[in-house]
């Protein structure tokens, strides 16, 4: 699967952007040229060499605020996906093993969580639980858990029912071997797809929450919070919201692309896709370098 993955240009584009954004999340605050909280410069200045993205309504450097806001905006999306993975995949796997009552209960709970208006619940949970970033991530993670519950449950059920697992068990393979050789390859791709989707959804929701001033309070820089303050000064700086918006949309797009790439490569359609590509390449090569005609001597 990995060899198939590296052959697609979409892989390089999507994972490159994701890597760039994640690095921004880790090292962004260190790279900020100005103090993201210190005002005092020219108010609402257009982009200059000293302030590449201009300054905001308090004279703070927008470029530094974007860099300093990256950890909350990006890393929290990854943490949300991680929480959702743990909170969703474990009950999903257990629902196959633990009997009917547990299965019924978790299935109904998941149905309910999917039917709930997501953002309304995220807002309500975060604010009522104490309005901090960890509360926000916990509630969003729990609300995203059904994604992983479904994926884990579906893969566990398909693997358990398969004959190759039965034959492996009958021929005396250890559980560890069965898990590593048969279960893991089947599970890793769907989980990866769900992780990419969940991280994208998490990023948007965390940005929405911070836009509302929930989870992180205004003076601290976040991409969503910057959008909220930009909204009041659109008359002076109609371009200002573009910087956070481009970053948010680019990240979500890259995550969706990564999910699509994984889906294409992991399934049967991926093999067909790559075969078709290989065929097209071969044709092109054949046209470019015509078979040399042996000269008659």
């Amino acid at each position: 699967m990995l060899s198939r993955l590296v052959r697609l240009p979409s892989t390089w584009i999507s994972f490159g952007i994701i890597l760039f954004i994640v690095l921004l999340g880790f090292f962004g605050p260190l790279l900020a040229p100005h103090d993201p909280l210190a005002g005092g410069g020219t108010l609402l200045a257009p982009p200059t060499f000293a302030h590449p993205f201009g300054t905001d309504y308090l004279g703070r450097d927008v470029f530094s605020r974007i860099l300093a806001g990256a950890p909350v905006s990006v890393l929290s999306a990854l943490e949300v996906a991680g929480i959702a993975l743990v909170a969703g995949a474990i009950p999903g796997l257990l629902s196959v093993y633990l009997g009917r009552a547990f299965e019924w209960l978790t299935l109904r709970l998941v149905d309910t969580l999917i039917a709930l208006p997501f953002l309304v619940f995220a807002v309500a949970m975060t604010a009522l639980l104490g309005n901090g970033i960890s509360q926000a991530m916990l509630s969003v993670g729990i609300l995203l858990a059904p994604m992983f519950y479904r994926v884990a449950r579906a893969s566990a059920m398909s693997v358990i029912a398969s004959q190759y697992v039965e034959s492996a068990v009958l021929s005396g393979s250890s559980t560890a071997w069965v898990l590593r050789r048969h279960v893991w390859p089947k599970v890793v791709a769907p989980i990866g797809i769900a992780l990419a989707n969940a991280a994208g959804a998490g990023l948007v929701i965390v940005a929405s929450l911070t836009f509302l001033g929930i989870g992180v309070q205004p003076p601290a820089p976040t991409w969503g919070g910057m959008l909220a303050s930009d909204l009041g000064y659109l008359d002076y700086q109609p371009y200002a919201p573009l910087f956070p918006i481009v970053l948010i949309v680019l990240t979500v797009w890259a995550l969706n692309l990564a999910a699509d790439v994984l889906r294409d490569v992991s399934g049967e359609s991926g093999r067909i896709l790559l075969k078709r590509r290989a065929l097209r390449r071969a044709k092109k090569r054949a046209v470019r370098r015509p078979v040399p005609i042996p000269r008659e001597s």
Binding site: L109, D111, T112, P117, L119, L128, F211
Partner: protein, 349 residues
């Protein structure tokens, strides 16, 4: 539109005049069974959702440990005053008793009163729900119209450059969160061109034009998600429906392309996308929270976030219950529509 069973019944009644009574009886029985299937199955599906949803809502409020004492008394809270207020609001009772009181009041249509100002929550939500429903409703209509148009065009012109550009456009708008779209729309149409108002709301009673001009931008911002989802699913559904044998059969019978499309392909291919619309309705309601903030509308979403920040538990619970009811009601409507549109749904498949 005559449904298959009605048509079948009429045909049978015509061809077998001697046994009209028994036939009409069996048709009636079939009809009742169908109505039962249409109405009861979704109800059986959504009752647990409603029960679990309200339980989660209640527990969310109850377990946070917030009380009206902190909301009303603030710093002046002495233990005695807190205990008195808790007793007054019935918060010193066991959790199960409180849940039962809350739930039975809910079934009677009462959502309790706000801890903040004592006004009944249903009244507070009632004042604001018209704004949210206008925005979400217009957004839904835009999503359905454009989603259907784009999906259909892409499917009919499948693999052409039109199809590819529509697909690219859809994948672009599907990653745009509603509030970013809203901000861009304000910057372009309200600030840039001064075409439409950037904020505020005018009730529909004061004129359709002003109402619509205040609603249209937030509705467009909200509609992107459902447009993209609907169009993609519809394209996939229609493309796969075109490969079915009944389309080949209809073509061989000499039916016109238009009739094949509307009579066979669209009715069969639209099913999954309609079901998907039911799944995306919660997003529409959720997106309203942020979109209303962008456009300065004091709808139920703004009310929800303000109440949650105040710690006004009954108000938040009320909003959540109303949104659950809206989602369940919308999904019931989608189910009924599915049963009318998709031919195979009438056979209980």
């Amino acid at each position: 539109m005559t449904t298959d069973t009605e048509f079948l019944g009429a045909q049978r009644a015509r061809t077998l005049p001697s046994s009209t009574r028994s036939v009409s009886k069996s048709v009636a029985a079939l009809h009742f069974k169908r109505i039962g299937l249409i109405v009861l199955r979704p109800v059986a599906m959504f009752v647990p959702v409603f029960l679990f949803g309200t339980l989660i809502t209640f527990l969310l409020g109850a377990l946070t440990g917030l009380s009206p004492a902190y909301v009303q008394l603030g710093d002046a809270a002495t233990p005695a005053a807190v205990a008195r207020l808790n007793h007054q609001w019935g918060l010193d009772q066991p959790l199960l008793v409180r849940y039962w009181d809350w739930f039975s009041a809910l079934l009677h249509g009462s959502l309790g009163s706000s801890w903040f100002n004592g006004v009944p929550v249903s009244e507070l939500i009632g004042q604001r729900i018209a704004i949210s429903l206008s925005v979400a409703g217009v957004g839904l209509v835009i999503g359905i119209v454009f989603g259907t148009l784009l999906g259909t065009i892409a499917a009919v012109k499948a693999t052409s450059w039109i199809d590819r550009s529509i697909t690219a456009f859809l994948s672009f708008i599907s990653v745009m969160p509603p509030f970013t779209v809203g901000i861009i729309l304000v910057a372009v149409f309200a600030v840039g061109f001064h075409l439409l108002p950037s904020a505020g709301y005018i009730p529909i009673e004061q004129g359709l034009g002003p109402w619509f001009s205040h609603i249209i931008l937030p509705a467009i911002a909200l509609s992107f998600d459902s447009t993209a989802a609907l169009a993609r699913q519809l394209r996939a559904g229609l493309v796969s429906a075109y490969t079915e044998n009944y389309v080949l059969g209809a073509t061989v019978h000499g039916l016109s392309p238009r009739r094949i499309f509307f009579g066979h392909v669209l009715r069969n291919g639209a099913g999954p996308s309609l079901a998907l619309l039911g799944l995306h309705f919660p997003n529409l309601l959720g997106g309203a929270v942020v979109t209303e903030t962008v456009f300065g509308l004091s709808g139920y979403g703004v009310f929800a976030s303000q109440s949650a920040l105040h710690g006004d538990v009954p108000a938040v619970q009320g909003v959540l219950v109303v949104s659950i009811v809206l989602v369940v009601a919308f999904n019931l409507i989608v189910n009924v529509a599915l049963n009318r549109i998709v031919p195979s749904a009438t056979r209980g498949v």
